[in-house]
Amino acid sequence: MVTESEEGRRDFLLLATSAVGAAGVAGAAWPFIKSWSPSSDVLSQATTEVDISSLAEGQMITVPWQGKPVFVVHRTVTQIELARKDDTKSLPDPAKDADRVKRPEFLVLLALCPHLGCVPQPIGTGNYGGFLCPCHGSHYDTSGRIRQGPSPRNLQVPYYEFKDEKTLVIGKATV
């Protein structure tokens, strides 16, 4: 015969054992889950250096950064003016051109459409003088701002700095 107090004791033991077991499984699962995160060697490739001395006005290059394409555009005066003029227009994702560049002549953009990650075509292919994403028809202007199409946001500006007059460093070293 099992008394009532013994039954309560057994319920408690069962619950406690299950709880400890569940916590143990959850803890043991963590290393497996975490193993999917970018590994140290991937993280160590966090920055890319670009020599921009040979990039003439009106030229654009695509450089790989963390396995992703980055557009570096040496903008013409017209392109800069066009971007600044549109600052006051009503934009889906409002941003001033001045806030999107460190030196107005160099536009640095993560060349992945915020819609679903396709690579847009070079500057001059879209309406508004900028970039066209071929996958689902998003148009970006000469500052990489979204103007037309399904993309919810502007082309992202990655973290970058000018190491000296002719060297651009894209990305920030991560630990």
């Binding site: 995160s37 991937v42 790989p64 396995g67 394409p69 990650g117 396709c118 071929p134 028809g137």
Partner: protein, 403 residues
């Protein structure tokens, strides 16, 4: 021989199991050819596991090698071309068979009480199969592989708050790359075995409640059923023969019928092909994803939710259909809805195949409008099926008492 079986049966009742579940398993005598597609799906799964296992013995999952190694299989490995074409086309045929199998269940009411759990195992199998097919398509590491993977994994980024981090976690980097390819290969190897296990549970659930039948009524086991062997073993074999004729015709004469030419270009993370299309079996769902484009900043999330919802809604189908009759033969309104639904799936497939923005029908009808209408009809099927059955709007015709 009988001595050996006696020895075995005393320890493991093999003969009894075969008798009750296979040879003498009572099967409705009125099953039509639409009931062939369940065993056909198992047959294709075996073809896929066999060809896949031997492909894996030659394949290398490495962003720098995978594209070349697939061409090595095609050109250098003895019968490598056959293994690959069996496997690549097998995926397409698997979906053909499974889509027919699902639609058969929907038409004859096979999802209805008491077969809900059987149906849920089936929908789960379908979901895992889609995941497996998607990851398998990434392995040749061509342009479509790469950008298909990029677009589909990017869907995850629509999830609020954790989306962006989740995508990086799935990639194992900051873009689709070598780590992604490796884990997809590992999962692509594992999941078919999960599918096999679930298929056994699917069969267990079937054998617990027995097959539905074209009349959709509960049957008398004595009067209306016949043993599975030899009646349905021979019928299933016949179906496999017909299947193999069509399958081999494609494998040997038009093996690239379902493959995109762009996937014979090595993956290039720096350039997207002008027109990305998923494999044909994902097209209707892709069209649903793209058709939600009128909600501004919420379009992306809403599109993803609609796409997942298009499959998830199958889980609650057993509860949406409230008709006292299972089979659509005796349900005139449901039957019409069903055929509209089938045509709509093809329409959505066509929409998904075409570029989202450019194409119009003779210039008058934007494709997005067709896509939105198709999406509305797709979900409308489930809503209307509930409305006409829950509120007794449908008057069913007389149902036979027996077969």
């Amino acid at each position: 021989m009988s001595k050996i079986m006696e020895w075995v049966d005393a320890r493991l009742p093999v003969t009894a199991l075969l008798k009750s579940q296979a040879t003498e398993y009572p099967t409705p005598k009125n099953l039509n050819y639409w009931w062939n597609f369940g065993s056909l799906a198992l047959f294709v799964l075996i073809i896929m596991i066999a060809s896949g296992l031997f492909l894996a013995m030659h394949y290398k999952a490495d962003a720098n090698q995978s594209f070349d190694v697939v061409e090595h299989i095609m050109r250098d490995v003895h019968f490598g071309w056959l293994l690959r074409y069996l496997h690549a086309n097998g995926a397409s045929f698997f979906f053909v068979v499974v889509y027919i199998h699902i639609l058969r269940g929907m038409y004859y009411g096979s999802y209805r009480k008491p077969r809900e759990i059987l149906w849920w195992f089936g929908v789960t199998l379908f979901l895992i199969m889609m995941g497996t097919a998607f990851m398998g398509y990434v392995l040749p590491w061509g342009q479509m592989s790469y950008w298909g993977a990029a677009v589909i994994t990017n869907l995850m980024s629509a999830i609020p708050l954790i989306g962006e981090d989740l995508v990086v976690w799935i990639w194992g980097g900051f873009a689709v790359g070598d780590p992604t390819l490796n884990r997809f290969f590992a999962l692509h190897f594992l999941l078919p075995l999960v599918i096999f296990g679930l298929a056994i549970l699917h069969l267990w659930a079937l054998h617990a409640v027995h097959s539905n039948n074209p009349v959709g009524i509960d049957l008398d086991e004595e009067k209306d059923c016949i043993p599975f062997h030899p009646y349905y073993t021979i019928k299933d074999l016949y179906g496999m023969g017909v299947f193999l004729i069509v399958f081999c015709a494609v494998v040997f004469f038009v093996p690239n019928l379902f493959l995109e030419p762009d996937n014979y270009i090595p993956a290039n993370p720096m350039q997207t092909p002008a027109h990305i299309v998923p494999e044909w079996y994902f097209l209707p769902f892709y069209a649903i994803l793209r058709s939600i484009d009128f909600l501004g900043p919420f379009s992306k999330l809403a599109g993803v939710v609609a796409m997942i919802g298009a499959i998830a809604i199958l889980f609650i189908l057993p509860f949406l259909d409230r008709s006292p009759v299972r089979c659509f033969r005796y349900r005139p309104l449901s039957r019409q809805l069903f055929w509209i639904f089938v045509v709509d799936c093809f329409l959505l497939g066509w929409v998904g195949y075409n570029p989202a923005d450019a194409v119009t029908l003779d210039g008058a009808l934007p494709l997005t409008v067709v896509g939105r209408t198709g999406t509305a009809i797709y979900f409308g099927y489930f809503v209307l099926l509930w409305v006409i059955t829950a509120f007794d709007i449908e008057k069913h015709s007389p149902v036979p008492k027996s077969i």
